[in-house]
Amino acid sequence: MEMKSVKELLEVHGKAEKDCYFDWENGSIVDVEVFNAMKPFFLEKGYGNPAITHRIGWESYEFYGIEKEKIANSINADSVNLALTFSSTESNNIAVIGTTRLDKKRKKILVSSVEHLSVIHAVKALYDQGIKIETIPVSHNGVVNLDILQEKLDENTLMVSLQSINHEIGTIQPVKEAIEIVKDKDEDIYFHTDASAAYGRIPLDFLDLNVDFGTISSQKILGPKSIAGLYVKDGIKLKSIYEGQLSVEILSPDVEYMPLLAGFAKAVEIQFNKFKEINEHTLKLRDKLMYGLQTTIPRVEINGPEGHHRAPDNVNVSFLGCEGEALTLESSMSGIFASSGSACTSRILMPSHILTAIGRKPEEAHGSFLMKLTRLNTEEEVNYTLETLPKVINRIRSITGGIEL
């Protein structure tokens, strides 16, 4: 489509009286303090390559060391055990692909059926190399079945990957118990946790957890995109999955970019200094939104667990009789931005694999609506959403009319 038409499309769409952004799962801005921390590194500081021996390079290297340590501290790790990458997707790919190069005999990788696609697809893409994926089913709340995990472990098992929190339905997974089960069975089975959605939401102590690999992301705590991390336990000699020159970072053979590091470190400082305060704030908004919608709108179902079993920032509900893409568009025209696991929002025209895995019928998955809360969301936005969404749902249901699902 020509850009001219996109401009017209936006004109037809127009702007609502208010913008309430809840689609943090799919895109985010940085906190203004984060931006201010990054700014000098674009203009005057840290532009030298930290691997080069001159003053400008050493200045970068000094800064790099100090800031990286702050990030590593947030997961109780040493700097040397944290590899900086460009995204959670890259971290997950390095963990999966890198592990297959560490142990070439074992060919089975176990993942929960609700893992992020950057894990599932990374494993599936190794099919030609003889790597087999086996999925561990989850309960109707998305909690992985530990008995089945235990049953599936054998001498051919290379790795288990289980996320700390599900990014779509907010399920907090029993990662600690899962690691104990796996390591009790066989110390040599690697364990990876994608903690992107958990980072800054629940306490994460990778050292205490005895996990081999852990993925974290800057974007999820309102830091800049294009920087993330992969924790690698002491003694594991993971290698980069692509080639380049030698650099300070071992797993990314690129030149380290200080503005991103400055932003990530500042985001860590904010999120972890105000950890309790931020999570109490989002939890309060979460429950007000989730139960408010359930009270004011008929035929609403909550996807995922409730209370303390659910991530403090996650609201995911299904409005029965509504198709998700129409729903996200109608709410967008009312200034509310969220996403849906409907088939029509995906390229493959199948509903979200996560909603399917927890046993949602297609018509329930199609009406799903995902909203996330950050420290930048306000109670006023939640109030506006609670007033506005019933009208949005009514209109979409009026188009569905008498169609029986």
Binding site: M1, S5, V6, E8, L9, E11, V12, H13, E25, N26, S113, H116, L117, S118, I120, I133, T135, H167, E168, G321, E323, G324, E325, A326, L329, E330, M333, S339, G341, S342, A343, C344, T345, S346, R347, I348, L349, M350, P351, S352, H353, I354, T356, A357, P362, E363, H366, L370, S398, I399, T400, G401, G402, I403, L405
Partner: protein, 165 residues
């Protein structure tokens, strides 16, 4: 929640989504037909009120459980139907619907197809259940757009098998 694609609809889709023409259940419809499946999240009902003597449409309407382009396609189709004869209505193609909508994004062309498939289903139903004098112009074999509707209905099952882990 991956596998997203941007869907820059043409403005006409958004206009019809916002103000759908000919929306709603038709109590006095001569015939109605459904196309699509709940698994795909894509269902439309086309209602037709037909003048039996002239074999032409008096009015048409739709209901849709589906995305914005599904709603806009069904609405655009009813606008195209207007008061055409059934023979003329039969000849409306998904491409005409898509063109009127400023060309649907490739992944959404099935929406236009589904609407046209639903209309042809309604016309066939009319000649098999109401007016039993089947005209010469009505083909015995199902047409491409009807096939698309059937394929769409089968798609969910197919994709499920392919995609389930």
């Amino acid at each position: 929640m991956s596998s997203r694609i941007p869907l820059p609809y043409a403005p006409r889709v958004l206009e019809l989504f916002r103000n759908p023409q000919n929306l709603g259940h038709m109590k006095d419809a001569t015939v109605s037909a459904t196309a699509g499946s709940p698994a795909c999240g894509d269902i439309i009902i086309i209602y037709l009120k037909i003048n039996d003597e002239t074999e032409s449409v008096i009015k048409s309407s739709f209901e849709s459980y589906g995305c914005a382009s599904n709603i806009a396609s069904a609405s655009q189709l009813t606008i195209l139907i207007g008061k055409l004869t059934l023979k003329e209505a039969w000849e409306i193609t998904w491409k005409q619907v898509s063109d009127k909508l400023g060309k649907l994004p490739k992944i959404k062309t099935h929406c236009g197809s589904l609407a046209v498939g639903g209309l042809r289903r309604a016309i066939r139903k009319y000649y098999s259940e109401v007016n039993k004098k089947k005209p010469d112009w009505l083909p015995e074999e199902i047409t491409k757009d009807e096939k698309h509707a059937l394929e769409e209905e089968a798609l969910a099952e197919k994709m499920k098998k392919k995609y389930v882990l």
